[in-house]
């Protein structure tokens, strides 16, 4: 009995040390990527190539989900607001919830599962097939050549994807409430414009999406680089990327929101 308690406590200790160690390795890796990103910024063609894979190929899912999220927000908002006779405020509801929260957060979640998992799988497989070691043999730094361009491409494309998501959502809300249901077009836009503030809402949403971009791609490249070089290891790393980055996005969102929107009437 006593032995079992000791061993379970030892297990907790082991897990904690392991976690802290892994966090330290991830931080050092992140700093290393930042240090070695000079090459990828000088050879910008590498980043452009990765921008195509992470940004352009994520466009379809971002545009379609943005449209549908906006349409659902419009429908649900209309249903509730019309009980109070203020269905003209539906534009405000759609725009504020998209620009402040849903745009950055949902776009980042989609980005993590669409692009983050792909980055992890690609780097992990490169490691498993010893392409990274081969690069090292040819005196090509794999972090500067493979990891840094992917990291910067993700950081650059995330704010754009979030902005496109929000715009599509506002358009989807417009489509449902103004075109189909028949809310007055002028009040949809004017109420939205008087409620959405450039500094508080749009700039803060943009800053949020920048943070999410850094977090998601940093997790994705680290998990890929750190994956055990087996088929199982790569699949586990891909799963971990999606799970960890989703949790980090939601947690980070709460912290950022608490700092940004506290005391805003």
């Amino acid at each position: 009995m006593f032995k079992r308690i000791v061993s379970s406590i030892r297990h907790i200790g082991h897990q904690t040390i392991e976690g802290a160690w892994r966090l330290g390795v991830a931080t050092r890796f992140f700093l290393l990527v930042l240090l070695k990103s000079g090459t990828s910024l000088r050879r910008f063609g590498l980043v452009v190539r990765e921008l195509y894979f992470t940004g352009v190929l994520s466009l379809i899912i971002i545009v379609v989900s943005g449209l549908f999220v906006g349409m659902v927000l419009g429908l649900q908002g209309y249903e509730t607001l019309q009980k109070y006779g203020s269905e003209s405020a539906v534009g405000t509801l759609v725009a504020l919830s998209l620009v402040r929260e849903l745009g950055p957060v949902v776009a980042a979640l989609l980005f993590a599962s669409r692009a983050g998992s792909a980055i992890t799988a690609e780097i992990g497989l490169m490691k498993a097939t010893e392409q990274l070691s081969a690069m090292g043999m040819m005196a090509v730094d794999p972090i500067a050549r493979v990891v840094a361009p992917r990291f910067w491409a993700g950081v650059i494309s995330m704010p754009f994807l979030a902005a496109i998501f929000s715009v599509m959502g506002v358009f989807g809300g417009y489509l449902v409430t103004v075109v189909f249901i028949g809310v007055d077009e002028g009040s949809y836009w004017s109420q939205m414009q008087s409620a959405v503030d450039f500094r508080f809402d749009i700039v803060n949403g943009f800053i949020k999406s920048c943070f999410f971009g850094v977090a998601v791609t940093a997790i994705a490249v680290f998990e890929g680089y750190d994956a055990p070089p087996t088929a199982e290891g790569v699949s586990g790393a891909t799963t971990r990327t999606v799970v960890t980055s989703s949790l980090v996005i939601l947690g980070l969102d709460f912290i950022l929101t608490a700092f940004m929107f506290r005391g805003v009437s």
Binding site: Y84, A95, F160, A163, I164, M192, D197, F198, I202
Partner: protein
Amino acid sequence: MQRTAMDLWVGLFVVMGIVALMILSLKVGNLNVYNPAQSYTITGNFENIGGLKVRAPVKSAGVVVGRVTDIQFSTETYDAIVTLSMDSRFQFPKDTFASILTSGLLGEQYIGLAAGGDETKLQHGDKLMKTNSAMVLEELIGRFLFNKAAEDDSL
């Protein structure tokens, strides 16, 4: 995939992102409505501004003609000094009447201007002479109850 085609797609993506940010700022956030070069400011003292906020619209005949840019409290007269930034396309007579109104029963509060008959127009930095405070529900109910009590007494 060809290098040039890839460059084209990435370029399109970046342009789309920038356009989306601009739509958010200009169409959704309405960044361009307040242009200080083409506006003049006037002030007005209100006994009670109720729930009026900075950036609330200033309307005349229901049309937005300006915005509230500042709300201060005066320790000399113990009332609120509201600064209005008016679109310079719209000139109002000196004796314009300003009142704080509510759009709908629970809607936002705004300043409504009713033009007077004076020949001279309001200039930059002028002060509105005739103002009407916001309707405060508690005061209204209090007054109603007071009147009701007075009525009952007279019977």
